[in-house]
């Protein structure tokens, strides 16, 4: 059920990506997709009543392994978030250029490639 909600979030983003005409809305849609994927990975790695995967001084190693949530998805998601920042910047840069050149961010008007 948790997973389903995360999936729903992903498809809301996908819907925005597919249907919205404004490029800014499309960027937002992609951001939502990215959030959903990150969230999904963390959800999969969650242990009920789990603790962060950080060993504290004096903590028993065996207890730590039993109680900790899965650290692997966290390591992947951490970089994914920062990559997301880079991607947003790239997309915004492209949109700025498009707006400057064509005076619009409406996809339906950007059809110079029409056959």
């Amino acid at each position: 059920m948790m997973y389903l909600l995360a999936l729903l979030l992903l498809f809301i983003g996908l819907y925005g990506l597919l249907v919205k005409r404004s490029l800014v809305k499309k960027i937002l849609g992609l951001l939502i997709v990215e959030h959903a994927v990150n969230l999904f990975l963390i959800l999969v790695g969650y242990r009920s009543d789990g603790l962060p995967p950080i060993l504290l001084p004096g903590e028993d190693a065996g207890e730590f392994v039993r109680a900790s949530v899965d650290p692997l998805p966290q390591a992947l998601v951490l970089t994914s978030i920062v990559i997301g920042l880079g991607l947003v910047m790239l997309m915004v840069a492209l949109s700025l250029r498009i707006h400057e050149r064509h005076g619009t961010l409406d996809c339906s008007k950007l059809n110079r490639l029409k056959g």
Partner: protein
Amino acid sequence: MEPLLLPVLIPGVTGLLALALPGRLRRLQQALGLLGTLGALVAAAALLDVRAAFFREWLRLGPLNLDFALRADGFSSWAVAFVGLMGFLVVLYSVGWFRAAERERGPYYPCLLLATAGAAGAVLADNLLLLVLFWELVSLTLFLLAATGRASGAPAAAKAFVIVGCGDMALLLAVVLCGVLHADAGLERPLAASTLAAHPIGTGDGLGMLVFLLFLAAAAAKAGAIPLHSWIPTLARETQPPVMAFLPGALDKVLGIYLMARVSLEWLSPSHALRFVTMLIGSVTILAAVFMAMQQHDLRRLLAFHAVSQVGYMLLGIGTGSLVGVMGGIFHMLNNAIYKACLFLCAGVVEREAGTMELDRLGGLHRNLPVTFGCMLVAALSISGVPPLNGFVSKWMVYQGCVVAGQPMFLIVALFGSVLTLASFVKVLHSVFWGARPRALAAVNERGLALRVPLLVLAALCVVFGVFATVPLDQAIGPAVGLEPPATGAGSVVLEGRLAAWAAAPAERAAPAASFAVFQPLSATALLALGVLVGLLLAYFGRMKVRTVRSVFIGGEPIDPEVNRFPGTEFYRTVGELPGLGRVLAQGEKGTFDLYQVLERLPLLRRLHTGWLTDYLFWCFLGLTVLLGVFFWT
């Protein structure tokens, strides 16, 4: 360093280096280009006698393997040497050709270098996926060169990229199908060329036939056989002559026909029906393209149609499936690269010096451009199949292949095409070099050694490969069809017909070796030379006047020779005015048979091609949905 890697690595690395250099350092780029291609040429020449393989495991994609595997047998090492030679000559020519007014744009030398590396890699590759990668590199550089060449080149570049790209897709599909078939049969390394050669796929069933046809489509798109040829004439107008000479003129042909030869000789065993299809495509290509060429009045376009037409001979030869025909087809590929590059480069000199490619506006340049004239004459005679030049030898073998295969119709087509080629080049030579010279072209002259050396080398190769045809036939083409090259001192395999290896080949490809007669190039050349000598002697002693100049008067007034000029474009107008053929040719000129233009005009495609980002995204996700659905329910 592994010697096999060098022909790929040297141009590849220098190409990347040149790519990193700023465009201002033009001289440095030129130097790098020359160095890189020269290095590739030397490295490839060192490979000529090497029979070696290089293997390094790279990726395993499911059951399929993508290994970095290279192999030099006689065939591939000769092809690589050719690639290196062409690269070097074209770079040398480019250094002379470009000047301040029209200088290299974009990453010109890096692209040439990378194309050389890609072609060398594709020819040497011993793994089919690796071949696809290198093959793609060549397609990419073609696009870049065309797109950055002239300001108006973008649509032509896109057209070339789409057509060649479709061919590449067919190639990838065929390769993967091949691999899957072999993996299903439980073979280790299903995509190694040696595995394929050891277990050729039969084309009796539908799947094998599909694989063959996909390979054929890939080769046809790359080499430019009808109906996938139309990018070459379009491109010819929009790119500089050296680019035309290099990629569509030489490398793309080498790659396409190399693939076709490997496919039909080693990797698959095509059935008679498929051979017939190949021959049919070949003969249609010969005739249709040569008719189109006769009607052209732009030198570049005319040469481009000839470049298409010659592919027909190669396909026809390979399609015959008889030893002499296949060898002829492959030999024609090498010969075509030589004389076609020479023709394009000569045309480049004409364009550079005279400033136009319109045959109407050219004429009488044989004194102004003597070297170009000589080289173009040799190349034109060679493409028309006049002995003792190289084009004759390979065409002659293709003709014989048709006879052996029992296909007199194709023989007639091939002969007829050859005659028309000659006719077409008579027109070219007349309109460019003979006839009256327009006054505007009086000051034209040849400049620069860098322009002339490549022409001379290529023209000399035309003669050498014609007179000493047994050398490349024994050393390069023999290994391709499974003949061992003769030991030093022994006679030529081809001439003496020691064809034991061939007779041992599968029954389907075996041809009656008895009806095999090879042209004896040396003695024939001697006879021809004797004939020419006698003719010259007769002319000299008979005091024949070769050329007479008379002034023309009307009513006592001398006529302006400019008005009285008879350009060669009028030569074959009657062909265009024939009732049936003329209309067909006119339609061809308008692009009715151009698959790309036809598709472009299709209403359904036009409507689907909305230009909206959203719509394309929608199609992508629809495809994803379908794929997921398929996975879900199977």
